[in-house]
Symmetry: C2
Subunit: 71 residues, 2 copies
């Protein structure tokens, strides 16, 4: 399977939020830490709902967190 054409700023935003942990982010979003890790590394793209939840945790619009890089 190809790499999903969507990049994200999760690692940076966690850092800027006082090194928020993957586990804590997952908890606040409602997904597991494994899911956060996979999304953060771009192993796959989150669902729209998860993306909205993640963006909200950081108080950012969705498009500040996830960037579409398709053709």
């Amino acid at each position: 399977m190809a790499k999903p054409p969507i990049s994200n700023q999760i690692r940076t935003l966690r850092f800027l939020s006082g090194e928020m942990t993957q586990a804590e982010l997952g908890e606040r979003v409602g997904v597991t830490r494994q899911t956060i890790a996979a999304i953060e590394q771009g192993r796959y793209s989150p669902t729209l709902e998860a993306a909205f939840r993640i963006a909200r945790v950081f108080g950012k619009p969705l498009e500040d967190v996830f960037c579409w890089e398709g053709e």
Copy 2:
């Protein structure tokens, strides 16, 4: 599972785009017309990638097309 907590403006935007057809939107997005119909009716939420593609067809930011209504 209950209905997805994400609403959208697809029907309105198709109308405003000269009655763009579900089939044509699907073609330009890269999904079938059935998938467009299901998303439009809120039967399920699109993937992040499909959401980005749909928004781009209408030249709108993703959050102008899909609206998160969760807690």
